[in-house]
């Protein structure tokens, strides 16, 4: 690292100290109307930024000039990278790749999946009510991220209003309960269907929009939905929302909070499993492929006979379905909903789960959602800086791993040399 770079980093650190001065150093004590000068914070910010900046520059430099050509930089290894390809190196990255290769080998796959499944199913028994309840939230987000992944990850459409469909699902249950006393199991499919219809309704006018324009319109749509729920006080209860929504019922058995939470946990696990199954099948089908092609290049896709209108509507409908389903479960879990739960910020979180985990990759999106929801929960101690860390993680990811944590790998097929028989 050159002296020049160290000087630059120092400059950045000083600039940061200056920028954060008002929030980090000055504090107004509201009670006795005095100003506290926390000079020590200035020191921390300076040192922290400087060290962080050095690490950042170091990592960037390493990325630009890898010791030996990284697998991703060569042309042919992208899809069919076998563990053998990346073996033999000594760097941390190579060793990690080798470990990853071993772990994902066919013979270890089943035991790992089985262990994961057992852990998932035993979770409510092994952990406290609080933990289970956090896990439910995380799994709801997994479901949302998987649904949004259909639109963004596969279809390449920047959809910033996804949370609106979540709201539609939640309010479907809330309103149906409030006025007709309808229970969870009836509301569940209704919420999903209404959200799907809302998805189609949004898809139709935005068919011709791309990129930024689509993002803005979907964002606006979500805000409209939220404001309607906010202002339709006679029906939705306005900002006060709807309370007393019952938890999921089981043949009318009375359950205490702990049992109800455990029950909800298993419901969301089943719902997530269903989501994974459907998304996975869809992705590997003719329509799923068409959606991916459209996301890659819609003009070429149209020239190949893919009906863009139909494909977009299917993507929006299928994506919204899971949001609606998740919304009903969310309402039953919190027993209280109001418009504040469905702000743009929630859309951004779901979007981050998808982008961070790996667009288009099912395991990636799951890991992304679990990480983004669970980590902040366990970082409550740093609650003041959560947003800061959130932003930092996103920026770091975009620079060092733009494809997400677990990047999508296209399916590879093997063919017998002459017969052309396919297997996968």
């Amino acid at each position: 690292m050159s002296f020049q770079e160290i000087k630059r980093t120092l400059g950045v650190a000083l600039w940061f100290v200056f920028l954060t001065f008002p929030i980090m150093v000055i504090r107004v004590n509201q009670v006795d109307m005095t100003i506290q000068w926390r000079w020590y914070n200035m020191f921390y910010v300076g040192i922290g930024t400087f060290v962080g900046g050095l690490i950042w520059r170091f990592a960037l430099a390493r990325r630009k000039t890898p010791g030996k050509p990284a697998p991703a930089a060569t042309t042919k290894t992208d899809t069919n990278e076998t563990p053998a390809d990346s073996a033999g190196g000594g760097s941390i990255k190579d060793r990690f790749a080798r470990l990853w290769g071993t772990v994902t080998q066919q013979k270890y796959r089943r035991p790992i999946y089985a262990a994961g499944l057992v852990l998932l199913l035993a979770f409510p028994i092994l952990s406290s009510l609080y933990q289970t309840s956090i896990m439910i939230t995380a799994l709801i987000y997994v479901m949302l991220a998987l649904g949004l992944n259909i639109v963004i990850g596969l279809g390449g459409m920047l959809h910033l209003g996804y949370i609106a469909f979540f709201a539609v699902g939640a309010y479907t249950y809330g309103i149906l309960y409030k006025f007709f006393g309808i229970g969870f199991w009836v509301a569940l499919p209704l919420g999903a269907i209404l959200a799907t219809l809302a998805g189609v309704l949004l898809a139709l006018p935005v068919i011709r929009l791309r990129g930024d324009y689509l993002a803005i319109v979907t964002l606006g749509f979500a805000e409209i939905v939220r404001i309607v729920f906010n202002n339709l006080t006679p029906i939705t209860g306005g900002p006060q929302g709807i309370g007393g929504i019952p938890r999921p019922s089981l043949f009318g058995i009375d359950m205490n909070l702990s049992a109800a939470t455990t029950y909800t946990y298993y419901i969301i696990v089943a719902a997530v499993a269903l989501t994974i199954f459907v998304v996975w099948r869809f992705e590997n089908s003719r329509l799923g492929r068409a959606l991916v092609a459209m996301g890659e290049d819609d003009i070429a896709a149209e020239a190949m006979g893919i009906d863009i209108t139909r494909t977009k509507v299917i993507a929006f409908a299928l994506g919204s379905f899971w949001a609606g389903l998740g919304g009903v479960i969310f309402a039953s879990r919190t027993t209280f909903i109001n418009p504040a739960s469905f702000t743009v910020w929630q859309s951004v979180i779901v979007l981050s789960c998808v982008v961070l985990g790996g667009m288009g990759s099912i395991p990636g999106v799951i890991v992304g959602a679990l990480g983004l929801i669970l980590i902040p929960e366990y970082l409550r101690a740093f609650s003041d800086y959560r947003m800061l860390m959130f932003g930092a993680i996103l920026v770091t990811m975009m620079v060092f791993r733009p494809g997400g944590l677990i990047q999508k790998k296209r399916k590879a097929y093997t063919f017998q040399a002459d017969a052309g028989e396919a297997s996968s």
Binding site: R286, A290, D297, E302, M304
Partner: protein, 263 residues
């Protein structure tokens, strides 16, 4: 036994004040290889875009006559519908699905010939599974015919340039067209690749029963491949005829070389 398969009548395309295609008449018979040439910005790509439905022409009409079917107008139809009726194309600036594999690119070409819908995707019943196996098999066969099977699982964006151009042709062929519109297929190719392309195009016409409409700047390729040539300049057709006739047409020489040389 010549049979008309494309009939473009009096086509005009305006972009605001700019008339990119100006009252153009072009016809094509079954089994022909024809070419459309002209200086940069003459309106050739725009003409293709109008025929394939990317733009709706502001004037005129386009008739096609797929084998065994009635002649019909395709003006104003969506590109996907036109493609399904048997018009396939490639793009001047390669438009592959870069992050999909070579095989998947060809499989997308098969899209309009397959049926599986949402229910089939989720239930994965026998019919859907058989269809999937069939499309994988067929797509691989197409790759073999075009000579791209060695790349089958590579991402399209990682292919060498010449192979990308050929993959576009393979993908277009997968739609089972009766007519293939190639927009500058040799652009950026080296002489060897261009030669291979020439024999490939001939072979496609002869063995796949596909008529070929070519836009190309490489004159030697155009002259050796095409049976008839249309020349366009500033949106207007300025000449038509055999390669020999076009080569010696003073208007064509003027359009390509400029005013002073023609004297």
């Amino acid at each position: 036994m010549s049979e008309r398969i494309l009939n473009v009548q009096d086509m005009t395309m305006d972009f605001g004040g700019l008339r990119a295609v100006n009252h153009v008449n072009i016809t094509m018979d079954r089994g022909e290889i024809i070419a459309l040439i002209g200086p940069n910005g003459a309106g050739k790509t725009t003409f293709f875009n109008c025929v394939t439905g990317v733009y709706t022409p502001t004037g005129g009409d386009v008739f096609i006559n797929p084998p065994g079917e009635d002649e019909r107008s395709i003006k104003g139809q969506k590109p996907s519908r036109i493609a399904t009726q048997g018009l396939a194309r490639t793009f001047q600036n390669i438009r592959l699905f870069g992050n999909m594999t070579v095989l998947e690119n060809v499989m997308i070409g098969r899209h309009s010939r397959l049926k599986a819908g949402i229910a089939g995707a989720l239930l994965r019943n026998r019919k859907t599974r058989e269809e999937e196996e069939q499309v994988i098999h067929d797509s691989y066969e197409i790759l073999k015919r075009i000579g791209l099977e060695q790349y089958v699982n590579d991402l399209a964006r990682n292919l060498p340039y010449g192979a990308q151009r050929r993959l576009e042709i393979a993908r277009a062929l997968a739609t089972e067209p009766f007519m293939l519109l190639l927009d500058e297929p040799a652009a950026g190719m080296n002489p060897q690749e261009t030669k291979n392309l020439e024999s490939l195009i001939k072979r496609i016409r002869d063995t796949e029963n596909v008529s070929i409409f070519l836009i190309e700047h490489d004159m030697s390729l155009v002259m050796s491949l095409s049976e008839r040539i249309y020349v366009m300049d500033y949106g207007k057709l300025i000449a038509t005829g055999s390669p020999e006739e076009v080569k010696n047409n003073p208007d064509v020489i003027k359009a390509y070389l400029g005013e002073e040389v023609s004297a």
